[in-house]
Amino acid sequence: MRPLLLKITSFGPFVGTHEVDFGLLQGRSFFLIHGPTGSGKTTILDAICFALYGESSGAERSGADMRSDFAAQDSLTEVEFDFSLADKTYRVQRRPRQLRPSRRGTGTAEEPQHAVFYDISPDENQKPQEVALASGWNRVNEMIQKLLGFRSDQFRQVVMLPQGQFRRLLMADSKERQAIMQVLFQTGLYSRIEAYFKEQAKTVEDLALRIEAKKAELLQEHACTSTEELRMAIDKEIGVIASDRKQLEQITKDLAGAAEALGQAKRIAQLFKACAEARHELEQLSLQKDDIERQRRILEKGRKALLLAALENSLNQRQTEYKQIQIEHRKAAMELEQLKMQNKAAQEAYQAETDKEAERYQASRHLHWLHSLTPVFEQYQEARNELAAAEQQRGLLQEDLSQAEAEMTKIRLQREEINNNWQTAQQSALQVEVLKTEVQAQETIFSKRNELEQARQSLAKHKYEWKKAVRQLEKAEQKYNELKNHGSVLQDAWNQGQAALLATDLREGVPCPVCGSLNHPHPHTASGQLPDEKQLKEQQARIDLAAEQLNEARKNAVAIEIKLRLFEEKTLRLEAELGDKGSQTLAALRQSLELSRSKYQTTMKSASQEGQWAQSLALLEEGEKLSFSRLERLKYELGQAEQECASTQAIFSERAQHLPQTIIDRETLQKEQEQALKHCEVLAQNLENARLLAEELNVKLSNTATRVDSLLEKTNQARLHFDNESLLFTQELHRAGFKQQAEYEAARSSETKLNDLEVFIKQYDLRLHSAQDQLARCEAEVHGLQPPDLAAIQTRHEQLQTERDRIHAEFTLAEERLKKLNNDLITVGGYEKQLEAVTGQYRVLGRIADVANGKNPKNVTFQRFVLGALLDDVILRASERLSRLSKGRFILNRSQDLTRANAAGGLNIEVYDHYTSTTRPVANLSGGESFLASLALALGLAEVVQSYSGGTYLEAMFIDEGFGSLDADSLDEAVRILFSLQEQGRLVGIISHIDELKERIDARLEVKKSEFGSSLSFHVS
């Protein structure tokens, strides 16, 4: 897993969004995260851990606590982490549960935790893409765990060595270490193989047991416990079968005889029965004879009644007809009454309408009047329109007038202004000349002052030089005097020396070459050193040199003095010329000069503008004149318009008088007209309606009266018919033999019933005859026979039958049992063979499985063995590094205590100290030593994992502090070793506050702390 980019927002002490782009490392694999305490260095590792697993690196800070206290309310805490694994690139985004301001209303709402996991490997065309692989906190956790292979606590032990907890891998007990190494090297395969072996062994064992069980079960069914017993049972069974067979044959014979006898007896009994039956029937029929006679008589009567039915029907019909007509008649009479009343009412109404003649006349007159108003109204409307137009015109004119007045005043103001300007311009022109002369005067003064300044300066310089020259002169003079003195001294000495020389030649009595005396009382003795010629000459030369120099100096001084006097004169002259102006500074003079110059410039400018002002003034005066004339014209027009208005107003008011008050416009007039018309029409209509109604009712009345009369006649006729018919009927009834109506009623029944009755009687007759015949026949048959004892014969037969069945069943049962026993014997044989084979298999398999699962003298399981070998490898590499780090003192060993029966032991680490040749448990190491040991172990582990292709990818490693516990030498060595990792392409990030590391490591991520949160910057040199 190699980190590529980390983006954190409002996380820990980081406000806003900060990015850590690991790509900036440009292939360097070693970088340092540094910053002051509490700036957020560990937070960066927390962020990585959190992004991957939802927990912080030390597992001490929970995800929800990671929200920054500095963050703005609306900025959500979020971590986004891009990393590459194998050939693919992934991105995971996470937000912990946090409060945020609610979108509706005030207060806060809880934002739930959120996680998304993307695959952002570029597709075939190298274009980046984002494919979401999982979302939701737990799903993302699962997916990442599957990809990386680590759980979060394992990740923290191997990839991140967190602050204060780097010792965990070192200190872990065997089981934990086993779990980690299992994940790293994917030796889960071996534990699965172990389990599989065990499973297989168990399966085989189970199989054997099952076979055994089955065999026992089978034997149990026959109440045997072994194969021998089974065989004996078989033999027994065979004997039983033989005896049963014999018995069966015997009884079958007996049964056949009994069956025959039974058949015979049955037949005879049957005949006797039939005889008895026939007799019985005949008796029954005789009893019914009387009944049948009665039925015959009823049949006769019924036939007669049928004939009379038709007549009865027609009589009923007549009755109904009569009743109907009666009802109709009554109805018609009632109607007539009603109509009479209605007619009377209608006549009255009609009369009333006719009386309203006067009203009608009134209404039509009103209508005529309204029609006449229409033209008057038209005129009135016209007058009103004209008035409105005239007023509008007047209004417009007024507006124009006021506008024109405003313009007029404006122009006047402008003119005055320009006049003023022109006058000022004229004045300026006058001043120009005066100013010019002033400026010139000031310029001359300024230049003179400048000169003065310069003169003063040179004066000073020359004074200084003159002083210097004077000094030099003095020095030269002094030197010359000195030398001269010395020269004379020397000369004296020489003279003396000469004298002494001469003195040596002096003898008493020889004359002195100098004075000629013969006595030499005090001859001069040489004293001290005698200078020689050369020295004298030299001195003289020096003196001459000095004299020359003196002359030079003197000349120099004089020349300078002259120059000095000249400058003095010049200065004084200039001062006199300037007078008091000379005391003013150059700067002040310059300023006043500038001022005068600028004043002169402005005056010139304003003077030049005079011409322009004059021109514009003339233009404005013309404009003013035009505007004034326009104003006059408008006033005249306005007067006209007023007049017009007045006249139209008069006409309008006159016309208005002709109209009634209520009618002010066309619509009302029309409405009134319509209303009046309608009223007239309504009245006319009413009259007509009443007349029509009265006529109609009259006609109806007469019609109804005639109808009533006809109906009365019909009623009477119907009554007559009915009476005739009923008389006829009664006659017929008597002729048929019925004395009363009631008898006839009783005898009447439908035709079908009568037919049935006839059939029934016929049947009886038939039956009677056949019964008689039957009886005669049976008696003939049983003549001379005896009734048998059927029951006894039957029972005997049945007994024999049951006996035979029983014996047969027993026989079949025994045969079956034998068959089954034989089969079972074979099956059991088969089981025994199988069992043998399986047991053999199990022997081998069981042994192997046991050994693989740790049941061996060393108590080591297969997986543990492989892990042990791996751990040895890891420890070897780690040992190398530790030995280097501790300068050959410590190495790591795997502890060999396998005495515990627990198969989970054997992966412990201990430290061997060369200096004392003893082993120490790792818990006894000091802080710095244990840091070195953990570092060595982590590096060794990473190296071994990398070289096993089945292992997970550990391309990055982070070390959080721990360097502070090392002294300078160890720190040097540790950094050196970490640098050497670079060649293996692994990314190592360390967090430390040690300054020295800051200077030695060239790729640094600096975390700066401020009161508004922390910030990140990458420095790569």
Partner: protein, 380 residues
């Protein structure tokens, strides 16, 4: 002109826990006396005066003593440049004021960085200080963005410093770098994280009459005697046990030719030695206060060897037992278990834990089981 060339003092360094400040003081005393007696016109220290960028108080104090004696008492100009162990800004403290006293401490690349002229009777000899600088700083200073490694950085620095000098002038370079062809020992701190990128090739130095170099602790020449490493003051690791530590004394004539250059040894108080042998023999040696590394060739276990040896060598610093580093008994000879099949692994496992071999039919069973296991896994 006579010059004393030294380098890599590493004042304040500790060696296996022992503070070497006393040893360094002892040797520097000899150096100062040598400078006085040989009547040199200049002393050059080519970098790594301190061992850490924030040196300890006693290291600073020692340097103060030494430089005061050479500069003030002996009135010899001293040129010191910063090395990769020093912090340039700290070395350059009071640079301007110290130059008035003829102590030239050149650290950072700034406006004061310029050639140092020292005069002899024939005229000036220009000393070009080339203190160790990270390529990034050189890039910033010169504005040339193409500088990315030490070689190009050195080239740019040389261009800059010699730009104001006439071509015929006598020039001496004082540099702290790893010139290709040089031999490292264990105690140098690598200049660059990536292996060879810290090297500078020697042809850049051809325009100088002499190059006084520092950084490599072994006294050596690169190519010819003009390019010289003075070597470190003391032996700082056991790999240097055979080196002859000291200073280089050289003389330049009026044409810039190197007249003579010799290496003068300085003797430390305690030597660094490496002793091999069996414990019994070594215990019979004479007692010595030197810093010793002992390599024991005994094969068996020993009781407290360090304690015993400390009786004879109170300053023993390292103990090695090469014989004990064996291949542990794990898979026996088949260490690379990646290439073993499961059956082989199991066979060796079986043997290890039960002491018996797996018979042929049993092996067959195991093989079949493993095959079935893989089938099952694939099916899942």
């Amino acid at each position: 002109m006579r010059i004393l060339h030294s380098a890599d003092w590493h004042l304040g360094r500790s060696f296996h826990g022992y503070n070497l400040i006393e040893e360094q003081a002892h040797v520097l005393e000899q150096l100062v006396n040598l400078a006085g007696e040989s009547g040199v016109d200049a002393v050059i220290i080519a970098g790594d005066v301190f061992d850490r960028s924030q040196p300890s108080a006693e290291a600073v104090s020692l340097l103060n003593t030494v430089l005061t004696r050479i500069c003030q008492d002996l009135c010899i100009p001293v040129i010191v440049i910063a090395g990769n162990h020093d912090n340039p800004e700290r070395i350059g403290f009071a640079q301007h004021m110290l130059t008035q006293q003829q102590l030239y401490m050149v650290g950072p690349l700034n406006g004061l960085w310029q050639p140092i002229p020292l005069y002899d009777e024939y005229g000036p000899v220009y000393f070009c200080p080339l203190p160790y600088s990270e390529p990034a700083f050189v890039r910033n200073f010169t504005g040339d963005q193409s500088i990315h490694d030490h070689h190009s950085a050195m080239a740019a620095m040389i261009d800059y410093i010699t730009s104001t000098l006439p071509a015929s002038a006598r020039k001496i370079a004082v540099a702290h770098a790893f010139i290709s062809g040089g031999v490292e020992s264990e105690s140098e701190r690598p200049l660059s994280a990536v292996g060879g990128a810290g090297c500078v090739s020697a042809n850049l130095l051809e325009l100088f009459n002499y190059c006084a170099l520092g950084h490599l602790h072994r006294p050596q020449y690169i190519g010819n005697e003009k390019v010289c490493y003075a070597g470190s003051l003391l032996k700082y690791s056991f790999a240097e046990a055979e080196h002859r530590k000291g200073v280089t004394l050289l003389e330049i004539d009026q044409n810039g030719e190197l007249m003579k250059g010799e290496n003068i040894a300085l003797s430390p108080r305690r030597e660094l030695r490496c002793i091999e042998g069996n414990l019994e023999e070594i215990l019979t040696s004479d007692r010595s206060d030197d810093y010793i590394k002992v390599v024991l060739l005994d094969e068996g276990a020993l009781l407290d060897p360090m304690g015993k040896l400390r009786q004879v060598f109170p300053h023993i610093v390292e103990l090695q037992r090469p014989v004990l580093h064996q291949v542990p008994a794990g898979l026996g000879g088949e260490r690379d278990f990646r290439n073993l099949t499961e059956v082989d692994l199991f066979r060796s496992f079986y043997q290890q834990v039960t002491g018996n071999c797996l018979s042929e039919p049993e092996q067959g069973v195991v093989a079949r089981l493993v095959d079935k296991f893989y089938e099952k896994e694939r099916g899942d």
